[in-house]
């Protein structure tokens, strides 16, 4: 199945749903890894929106990517409770590893067992410099 067919399938699955745009964008990103310009065009047409409207939504939310991220992604929490547990020093000590994308998120709800990170749906708590470094290495 090519991307265009896949997109048609997603649009069909959400047909008639109220407020369908976010669920559609989530599905497209899950399938393609990002929201392409072509996808924006097709989605806009299907939902009777302008491309600008769809683009406005895609660019508003931190989760949606407009370009693919081909590297493994580690989401590292750098919100207050993880800061209080020393995450900033850990970030400073992170070894350079250009093969892993370390992205900042603000809170994973693991604030009692931070510093915390998430890879896919897998959560990691009680990180320290060594454990975070090992986690990054394991993804590379």
């Amino acid at each position: 199945m090519n991307d265009a067919q896949e997109l048609d399938g997603i649009l069909a699955a959400h047909h008639g749903r109220e407020g369908a745009l976010l669920p559609i964008l989530h599905d497209v990103q899950a399938a393609h890894g990002f929201i392409s310009e072509d996808a924006v065009r097709t989605i806009a047409k299907a939902l009777n929106l302008t491309r600008a409207e769809v683009h406005g939504v895609v660019s508003f939310y931190h989760d949606f990517r407009e370009a693919p991220e081909l590297r493994p992604v580690l989401k590292l929490c750098r919100a207050e409770s993880c800061q209080a547990r020393g995450v900033e020093a850990m970030v400073a000590a992170l070894p350079d590893n250009s093969r892993v994308a370390v992205e900042t998120v603000y809170c994973l709800g693991l604030c009692s067992v931070g510093p915390a990170a998430m890879v896919g749906d897998t959560v990691h708590g009680r990180l320290d410099t060594a454990r975070l470094g090992a986690l990054v290495e394991s993804l590379a």
């Binding site: 407020g19 976010l22 931190h62 919100a79 409770s81 709800g109 604030c111 009680r126």
Partner: protein
């Protein structure tokens, strides 16, 4: 066969609960996955015949089964952390399997919705009003009044929207409800729907909570016969903090940018798709089954002043005993941090406690006598918010925390109003200059003769501090919602209580000269 109970809450998983569960299973035990007791520093916590062991690693399993583990903590229920709590909303925490309808029914599940149906919609709302329940999402608005407005609004289509965006750092109680006791939330929504005449409910969950999303979806499918004709659907956010603000959330649910809407119209009258809508926090809705099942009075009997009932307080950050502590309002901040939380995890002195997430004030230990109560915190220039506590030890740099508050506001601003969108960015720059003690000379444009109102003299540290206070004032009173409006709380509290971190106690370095 030994039955071992281990939580599958995300906090337990993050600490390695799956590996410990697997180790017990390969040692021949039957493993049951339950919700968490909320003693997160002990996770992964295993329970065998009521006795607890934690925090465990797979290598500890043999000793636990041999009865020789040094990680035994005795009978869990008698643990001092639990003994003093009043668990209404978290009554099942640690005790039931989250997706077991059997466990739910055996522990009083569905009694609330049953009684609501017996009472009828009006008397159901009267119970909620009588309980004194206030919104747990932060603003503390009485739930019964909101429900009454929606019930009285005209129109055949109404909605219940559960705000599960839980974006504040130091908060995870919503997550624990969704992962640990999802039927209770669904029951609370069904009661709300019955009371106000809404047929459909949405739970807007942040995307950072994949485990909660999966559990809710399974729970909703299982709960259908108990809540029909009411329907519930999960919708997933997309990484935007401001989407926790109720009108921004509604826009997001409608498939739009999460921009805040001006009020009026109130969401209660024109909410989701323009229809009358109840927007309530997870904890607000989750408190409802207890209130209906046990009566308004049972809830209202507990509390402090106008804050009735219990508050699930979340202890986080640099704290020894982090986790969930549900108790009647009125407990003091100092009791929570020192007695219950055991002070800092690092063992160093507490320097600051931020209460209420990124928009909440930083409190010095001098504030420890403050009782946990909406009004008392407001009077101390703070807020309870969603009742998360972030503890910092004496290594914290409070001007750096103030800078973070501004940068968070800049990153998450919806962009609708200038004081928040631009002010937060200027705030970051200003605090950077204050931290560098660099002062500031007028820029090229400011120096132009046409710029009559622009200041021509260089700014010194004192001027910059004054400017920061002025900026905070503008944000406080000129912002449409609490993101821009409350960001000054952490900034100004840091400045007020720790001026030395802003260079104020040291002599003015005239670096700009």
């Amino acid at each position: 066969m030994t039955i071992v109970r281990i939580s599958d809450d995300a906090a337990a998983l993050a600490c390695g609960a799956d590996a410990v569960a697997a180790a017990f299973a390969s040692a021949g035990c039957t493993v049951e996955r339950v919700s968490t007791w909320g003693m997160h520093w002990l996770e992964p916590l295993a329970e065998i015949d009521g006795s607890g062991f934690g925090p465990l690693e797979p290598a500890d399993v043999a000793a636990v089964l041999a009865g020789s583990s040094p990680k035994a903590i005795g009978q869990i229920e008698q643990h001092p952390f639990l003994a003093r709590q009043q668990r209404f909303t978290f009554a099942r925490a640690g005790r039931t399997r989250p997706l077991s309808l059997e466990d739910y029914a055996a522990t009083g599940g569905w009694a609330g919705v049953k009684r609501a149906r017996e009472l009828g919609p009006e008397a159901t709302i009267a119970e909620v009003t009588g309980s004194g329940l206030r919104g747990r999402g932060g603003a503390g608005f009485p739930a019964g009044i909101k429900w009454t407005t929606v019930a009285k609004a005209a129109g055949p289509v109404k909605y219940i929207v559960c705000n599960a965006d839980e974006g504040d750092s130091a908060t995870f109680a919503d997550r624990m409800v969704m992962e640990g006791d999802p039927f209770m939330l669904i029951e609370g929504m069904a009661i709300a729907g019955f009371a106000v005449g809404a047929g459909k409910g949405y739970i807007y969950v942040r995307s950072e909570y994949p485990h909660a999303i999966t559990k809710l979806q399974s729970a909703i499918a299982l709960a259908v016969p108990h809540i029909a004709p009411f329907e519930v659907e999960v919708r997933v956010g997309a990484g935007s903090y401001v989407c926790g603000e109720e009108t921004s959330l509604l826009n997001s649910l409608e498939g739009k940018r999460g921009e805040v809407r001006a009020k009026p119209p109130l969401p209660a009258l024109e909410g989701l798709f323009g229809k009358p809508t109840v927007v309530n926090n997870v904890l607000t809705l989750a408190a409802v089954p207890f209130i209906l099942a046990n009566g308004a009075q049972a809830y209202a009997d507990v509390g402090f002043g106008r804050s009735r009932g219990t508050m699930p307080i979340q202890l986080a950050g640099n704290i020894k005993h982090g986790g969930l502590y549900e108790v009647g309002f009125g407990i003091t901040l100092g009791e929570l941090v020192n007695e219950i939380g055991g002070g800092t995890a690092t063992g160093r002195p507490v320097r600051a406690v931020q209460v209420g997430g990124p928009l909440g004030a930083f409190h010095p230990p001098a504030d420890f006598p403050l009782p946990f109560d909406y009004e008392a915190f407001a009077a101390a220039d703070g807020l309870i918010g969603h009742a998360g506590l972030t503890v910092f030890d004496d290594s914290a740099d409070m001007s750096a925390q103030a800078r973070f508050a501004m940068s968070f506001c800049a990153a998450e601003s919806c962009g609708k109003c200038t004081p928040c969108r631009i002010g937060s960015t200027r705030g970051v720059e200003l605090i950077d200059r204050i931290r560098a003690r660099s002062g500031r000379r007028p820029g090229k444009v400011e120096a132009l003769p046409q710029m009559h109102n622009a200041r021509k003299a260089p700014r010194k540290l004192g001027d910059e501090i004054e400017l920061l206070e002025d900026l905070c004032e503008t944000m406080k009173f000129g912002s449409l919602c609490a993101l821009g409006g409350f960001t000054p709380y952490p900034v100004l509290s840091a400045l007020k209580h720790w001026p030395e971190d802003f260079g104020i106690a040291v002599p003015d370095q005239e670096a700009a000269e």
